[in-house]
């Protein structure tokens, strides 16, 4: 121990300048992280064990009661279910379509840059504005789809007035925003595939679908895996779309999501402790998925370098 201390002290003398420069360079970010990220995590754990309305000077420690109540809270299970339905649907549908779009864009079609720009634009469009225009677009009377409904003489679905369809209105916007984003990654992956594989397959007389199945998809596995997991985590945080399009309605919480419900609990119902328990469960979920990603991306997935 003392030898160790001695070594650190001598290397401190030798490297003082270097180390101090390092600390100065990383200080701004670390100070902000410490105050607004590391500390809040610790404090959230504490808050999840109290009952508090943001106002009273004393927080009543209630142990695990918040967690116990949460397990029996119908709203918890419903918003959890909605969030998973949203995230899984957006990831599977949007990324499936994005993969096909990337295959198309990879064919060196004329106007490829134009199509790429158009498909990516939804991703950078402010969600609040996108949510508003989709309310109008999906309206069976006011939106352009009414021409389609008219043509087939059917009654268009009133997405936002239906307890089962409202979440799908939100999913549609989520898909619209995700397609171009994911296709950019897929396209980058496709363009990184060594052309020699394709030439060899063609020489062997492989059919296009066989090439797709046995060459393209396996080689794209790392990108697909990365996008699915990170897209899933991202999608579970959906908030803006719910806030603008449905506010969790038409009958709360039929289209509410985890993040939106947490916001309601904390900043509308002022249940700081209970909301924190919600936050902790969310945190544990995200950590689990992330660790799963880190673990299996090493084992199954063959990143270049």
């Amino acid at each position: 121990m003392s030898v160790n201390m001695h070594r650190i002290r001598t290397s401190w003398h030798k490297n003082r300048r270097e180390w101090l420069t390092f600390l100065a360079f990383v200080a701004p970010n670390f100070i902000i992280f410490a105050v607004f990220t590391y500390w809040p995590i610790i404090y959230s754990f504490y808050l999840s064990f109290v009952r508090w309305n943001f106002l009273t000077p004393n927080k009543q420690v209630v142990g695990i009661r918040n967690y116990a109540r949460l397990m029996q809270d119908d709203n918890f299970w419903e918003v959890l279910g909605n969030t998973l339905v949203y995230a899984v649907s957006v990831v599977l549908i949007a990324q499936g379509l994005a993969f096909l779009l990337a295959l198309l864009l990879n064919r060196r079609v004329k106007g490829q840059p134009f199509f790429r720009t158009v498909s990516f634009t939804p991703h950078i469009t402010t969600t609040a504005a996108a949510a508003l225009v989709f309310v109008l677009l999906l309206d069976p009377k006011l939106g352009p789809l009414s021409h389609v409904y008219n043509f087939f003489s059917i009654q268009g679905p009133r997405f936002l007035a239906s307890t089962t369809l409202a979440i799908w209105a939100i999913i549609i916007v989520g898909i619209w925003k995700e397609i171009g984003f994911a296709s950019v990654f897929f396209l980058a992956g496709l363009q990184g595939i060594n052309q020699e594989y394709y030439e060899a397959a063609r020489v062997d007389g492989a059919r296009p679908f066989a090439i797709l199945r046995h060459i393209t998809v396996p080689l794209m596995a790392p990108v697909i895996f990365f996008l699915m997991v990170s897209g899933f985590i991202q999608a579970t945080k959906v908030f803006d779309l719910v806030a603008i399009m449905t506010e969790g309605g038409p009958v709360y919480p039929s289209s509410s999501t985890y993040a939106y419900h947490l916001y309601q609990l904390a900043f509308r119902n002022f249940r700081a402790g209970y909301a924190s328990a919600f936050a902790i469960i969310f945190f544990i979920g995200v950590m689990t998925v992330t660790l799963f990603q880190l673990r299996y991306s090493k084992r199954w997935v063959d990143y270049e370098e």
Partner: protein, 287 residues
């Protein structure tokens, strides 16, 4: 989509069905994905009477540009713009500067156990913001920052994503350059500002763009930390317009307001999309 579009379609068609279908399919996809923008634009110039007729028309008969003036006056959009621009620019600058110094330190300066410290930085990306809302709000209240620019600018000024992207970029720089600078007796600050920064300017631009778009579009954080109309940013201002007497159900004004919100970001994107896409993909695909 001018005459070149039709020429391509015809050209592809003549050269065989094989060559035509991808182009036709992409055109269809572009129409579907672009429809919200088209609908937003035409609705924003329609008189209300043309919005509520059934079935709706694709092109307005009567173009009312006054809708934009009315929308501008229906909510304090001048304030929303100032708030969005000031906080967006300030946060972006701080994010990039802080990330520049931090990434440089992690790549080029020796420090014991710096790998562990770097993990602690990356770990912040896994923390969902929902988890931090309540404690951060309490903290801002203690600091007296609620409803101030400080709250909108400082907490988001530290972000791991730009650090990570710059870290990846710095690692590809030729090490001989650093050694040459060291021999010349340059300090780390000098090396950073005179050698590393000029060499990675495109990457810095890409990182700044991604940061700015992220701040501009953010909804949750400004919703929590501001509480008066005058302090709201554009996305929340738009939601505010929806809930007012002037704006509620007047879809032409709401769409004009939406155009206010997205036009700056779309213009920025059209001119910088190459850097932007590089910004989000670097550090991800090759991670």
């Amino acid at each position: 989509m001018g005459s070149g579009f039709w020429h391509n379609l015809r050209y592809n068609w003549r050269s065989g069905v094989e060559a035509a279908w991808p182009f036709a399919l992409l055109t269809l996809i572009a129409i579907v994905l672009g429809m919200p923008f088209f609908w937003m634009l035409i609705t924003s110039v329609k008189p209300l009477s043309e919005i509520i007729i059934y079935p709706p028309r694709f092109l307005p008969q009567d173009v009312r540009l006054e809708n934009y003036v009315e929308a501008w006056n229906a909510a304090p959009f001048d304030r929303f713009y100032i708030n969005s621009i000031v906080t967006g620019v300030a946060t972006t600058l701080l994010q990039v500067i802080f990330a520049l110094f931090m990434a440089y330190a992690f790549v080029f300066i020796n420090f014991p156990k710096k790998d562990l410290l770097f993990l602690a930085v990356l770990a912040t990306m896994m923390i969902p913001i929902e988890m931090k809302l309540v404690p951060n709000y309490l903290l801002l209240k203690k600091l007296g920052w609620v409803n101030t620019y400080w709250a909108l600018i400082i907490p988001p000024a530290a972000h791991a994503f730009p650090v990570f992207v710059l870290y990846q970029g710095f690692k590809t720089l030729p090490i001989e350059l650093m050694d040459a600078a060291k021999v010349d007796g340059a300090t780390h600050t000098q090396t950073l500002l005179r050698i590393v920064t000029p060499m990675t300017r495109p990457l810095l631009a890409a990182v700044a763009l991604v940061s700015f778009v992220g701040r501009w579009n953010d909804y949750l954080w400004p919703l929590i930390v501001t509480n008066t109309v005058a302090m709201r940013t554009l996305p929340i201002g738009l939601a505010y317009l929806k809930d007012t007497q002037e704006g509620g159900n007047r879809w032409n004004l709401l769409m004009a307001g939406s155009v206010f919100v997205i036009v700056p970001i779309l213009i920025l994107f059209v001119f910088t999309q190459k850097q932007f896409v590089e910004g989000i993909t670097s550090g991800a695909v090759k991670g």
